[in-house]
Amino acid sequence: MRNRFLALAGALVIAAASASLGSAQAGQTRPAAKPAPAPSKAIPRTADGHPDLTGVYDLATLTPVERPNGLPAVLTDAEAAKLEKQAADRRELLSRPSKADRDAPPLGGDGSIGAAGNVGGYNNFWLDPGSSYVQIDGQKRTSLVIDPPDGRVPQMTAAARQRMLANRNARPTSDAGENGNDPGFEGNGAYDDPERRGLNERCLLGFGSTSGPPVLPNYFYNNLHQIVQTPDTVMILTEMVHDARIVRMNAQHLPKTVRKWMGDSVGRWDGDTLVIDTTNFSEKTRFRGSSADLHVVERISRIDARTLRYRFTIDDPDTWTAPWSGEYTWPTTDDHIYEYACHEGNYALANILKGARLKESNDAAKKTKQEKF
């Protein structure tokens, strides 16, 4: 078994892993927390002398938000190459032809999990999840999270766990008794009305935390973002689902009574770094279970003419036992950002709700029939 596994993993990885163990120590190595680079003449600047952050950036990456168990903080070039090749091989595998004379998929579902809900999603050729690891200061990172040094988001507070549980109980839950033959179905009530569906499904706001803050990759597609910058305002546009966040420069936060879905963002320059401070969140968006008192500080600086460094710090004592931080690069892309226009073809939501109405009437008819006999 061991030999087979080693063969699977490949000699390259083993050699690379051995070489890296000196610094790996089971994922506890903190990535070098170097200060922002000294002002460079090489970077583009605006007329008022600040770094010009304007551009379109593709945030797709293989580096996950949290470090997978057992991985070091930093991959050697050989380890990264191995994993990047695995991802490329997977794409190649999924691009291969299917059987021409195939049958319909299995009755009762194909066993797929998550959003694909036992019916599968769609072909891989639609996806663009990223093909390489984040590299900062010459380090290929295995997590966006850099603090705590284990690359994992700190534990939630007891109060936050209770809050999450209450929210979960307020929302529909899976009912194994009634839906035992239908594992992709979320359960009674989940599809009753549009407001029980997620913000992304309703085309209201991006996926996970694509819009942010903090801005995070979604790991499947449309990870493009655009920054437009003037002396008074910085705008960060997220392609999916077309969310524009306006950062007011050198301004005060709005009164606490004013709550916004992406929070209230104000910016200032700290040397060559744009610092964005965001508070005043609403209860509509709960970043990983955060409270409306979430406080996000983002620091955006230029590494070079085609790369930004994006750092974020999350502080929400009601939710996490400690503040935590992450960073990754925003590489410039020459590709075009397109309008997402999510409402234009959102048949899916209507299909979901129609399906729920049909189930409702079928269940009612069944009940009536049972009562009669």
Partner: protein, 164 residues
């Protein structure tokens, strides 16, 4: 220790492998019925090149179909709508709504919408009749390449993390 890291790396690879096709815009399980698998063989009528999902309209011959087929002479057809992914990623590879010509023959397997009065299904796997995946390689109908080969003229710029 060496073994542990190797296993972690292999595990990460597997996680990446398993994850890709399962991500989606919405709850597929709420939209489509796992007890209604379908295999559709027909010809493209049109494609709605819209977000959050592109929809391929496909006519499939059926003796008691509701209307005459557009692309199969002297036959009746019904029209299915099949859900795909976002057009944006394909647009970036040079694929447009015109890349999938009307009349192109396709084979699609998926599951029908939970509301069975609708001829709608998810495009779990969309291929040409010989099994090749849609938009990958030449379709013989003018569909361009997918841009994966950097040598292809004009497109195929590096996606993901460049500029480092």
């Amino acid at each position: 220790m060496r073994m542990k890291l190797t296993m972690a790396l292999a595990g990460l690879g597997l996680m990446t492998l398993a994850g890709a096709p399962l991500l989606a815009h919405h709850a597929f399980g709420g939209e489509f019925d796992p007890n209604k698998p379908v295999l559709l063989k027909g010809k493209v009528v049109k494609i709605e090149w819209v977000n959050p999902h592109a929809w391929i309209h496909l006519e499939t011959p059926k003796p008691d179909g509701e209307k005459p087929c557009e692309f199969t002479p002297n036959a009746k057809c019904e029209e299915w709508m099949v859900e795909g992914g976002t057009p944006n990623t394909l647009l970036r590879r040079g694929i447009t709504r015109d890349s999938l010509a009307a009349g192109t023959e396709l084979v699609i397997d998926g599951y029908q919408a939970r509301d069975h009065s609708q001829l709608r299904a998810n495009g779990r796997n969309v291929t040409y009749p010989d099994g090749r995946k849609l938009f990958l390689g030449s379709s013989g109908t003018g569909a361009p390449t997918d841009g994966a080969d950097p040598a292809e003229a004009g497109r195929g710029r590096g996606r993901g993390r460049g500029g480092l």
